[in-house]
Point group: C2
Chain length 312, copies 2
């Protein structure tokens, strides 16, 4: 527990809409770190609601949109970014007039537009906690997902400062470090640090499994040479990622263009046998990982500390 | 310890040439799992030899090429694939006539050629243990690196069966599972499962660190969204990887061509807003990871079981 957990909770009642990996983690984290705060969970899927109730994911699992947001001080949309607008429209008639709206979507300009249009008049503080795993569904979440991770807030101009401060305190209470950013800049930064890596991983895993000369069984057997790292990312939720690429299209395509140029350059170095260019490039990239570890954004142990490197 | 460790050791004296991550791991594994076998370590660098002696990496740290291979039954070259020929030529005058030659190189056709030319008349059983981490140097190795991993042997036609059987028993003794393959096919398989993933990771990490619109500090801060996975691979040893790309050029370029075509297809789907094509692709790739985990080739826990997901 950090000190933040003992500060007064910024909201007495929080509604989590969408109970997958992110929504489930928010609900668990609130229960673990904000004693006295009531968390209500809701999901459009009856199966997910039933499972959430079974594993006691929230104080209340609501069965209707009305119940989902009753008396809520904060409503967080934790659905795929393409579903934000529809989810907001469903809840709009029942929202308390003074409740603050937030979300956890991976692209922000499109979400800002969708939530703003569906819920005019509400204080809107979009959020993106940069955290997750390749797993999905109500069982995938855990209370410590946000600890030590960054959460980026992208409130539009004119949002009351008090609403921003309370959402900020909320995420700090869950263990995250909060940063402010323009939605458009967020979308560019995340296109590089998250969306492009996912696109590349999805591509190479598809490439490897479709080859004629190398069997899928060989790909799987010898994946420890590097490939298996990519399969983790390429196992991420398909609906979520379809929506990310469709909703952050321009930034993703721009970054992909730069990546393709860089790849062509390394390809040329290999073709021409230019060992010096390869060596220089590979030396430079090594330094980036050191910085990430120094910033506390990854595990310093070799191979991420994978369990197969523990003594047998 | 597996049963193999209690079988009679296939060689009484083993020489490890090159004391980096792989050589150091072989030396440690022999000492841990093959009691009674004498392991001699040698490295062309005096600094590495001094460090290896300091951390007691082998029974003997040889100071000269002559001492390095004296009475050796098996000599394993653990140097970058581009350095194999030179290392072999240095040791050639001192090799016992009946010693078996092996290596741990990541490309096999070029190594087979280099070692065959430098050491005519010796039984040659090239090996590639598909295991490693992003770290390098004499301190990086560990005895369990090969446990449960595949080791691919690519003996040329005409190699005595007995030599192949002994090298095979040696790797099984270190905990690996052994597979036989033609060198050319090995190079194609590893181009997909290892070399192309490394090239892609090196590229994207370079791309991200050179952008104008997004600062390097932002890339580092928000790397938990996926990018940090790539930085691990792109932190691998630059000399080793320069050599891999130069020595397995044709297979790497062929695989890169297929990858680029596939990437162009996903790019087109994003540009055209074809959500169905994206969803279908992302659903298919998810299955590959399940197979890798079922085959025991990766950690099943979310995020590889990274320590930052343990309760704080």
């Amino acid at each position: 527990m950090t000190l933040a957990a003992t500060a007064p909770a910024p909201f007495a009642k929080v509604s989590v809409i969408g109970l997958g990996l992110l929504g489930g983690s928010v609900a668990r984290a609130v229960r673990a770190r904000m004693p006295g705060v009531h968390v209500t969970g809701y999901d459009a899927s009856a199966d997910v609601r039933a499972r959430a109730a079974q594993i006691d994911l929230a104080d209340t699992i609501a069965q209707t949109p009305r119940e989902a947001v009753a008396e809520a001080g904060l409503v967080i949309f934790c659905v795929p970014v393409g579903a934000m607008g529809a989810a907001a429209a469903t809840l709009a008639p029942y929202l308390p007039a003074d409740c603050v709206i937030s979300d956890v979507g991976s692209s922000k300009a499109s979400v800002l537009k969708a939530l703003g249009e569906a819920l005019p008049g509400h204080a809107l503080v979009p959020a993106h906690p940069v955290a997750g795993t390749e797993q999905s569904g109500p069982d995938a979440g855990f209370a410590t997902l946000f600890v030590g991770r960054w959460c980026i807030l992208t409130p539009p101009e004119g949002t009351p400062h008090e609403a921003v401060a309370r959402v900020s305190a909320f995420w700090e209470g869950l263990g995250a470090k909060v940063e402010m950013m323009e939605a458009a800049h967020h979308d560019l930064v995340l296109a590089v640090t998250s969306h492009l890596p996912h696109l590349i991983a999805y591509t190479i895993v598809g490439t490897a499994s479709d080859l004629e000369e190398v069997t899928q069984s060989e790909v799987i057997k010898y994946s420890a040479g590097g490939f298996r790292d990519f399969t983790r990312i390429a196992a991420s939720d398909p609906t979520m990622w379809r929506d990310v690429f469709l909703n952050n299209r321009d930034a993703v395509l721009a970054m992909l263009q730069v990546f393709t140029e860089d790849l062509t350059e390394l390809q040329k170095a290999i073709r021409k046998g230019d060992g010096e260019a390869l060596f220089d490039h590979f030396t430079r990239t090594r330094a980036i990982r050191r910085s990430i570890i120094q910033m506390g954004q990854d595990d310093a142990r070799p191979d991420f500390g994978r369990s197969d490197h523990k003594p047998a």
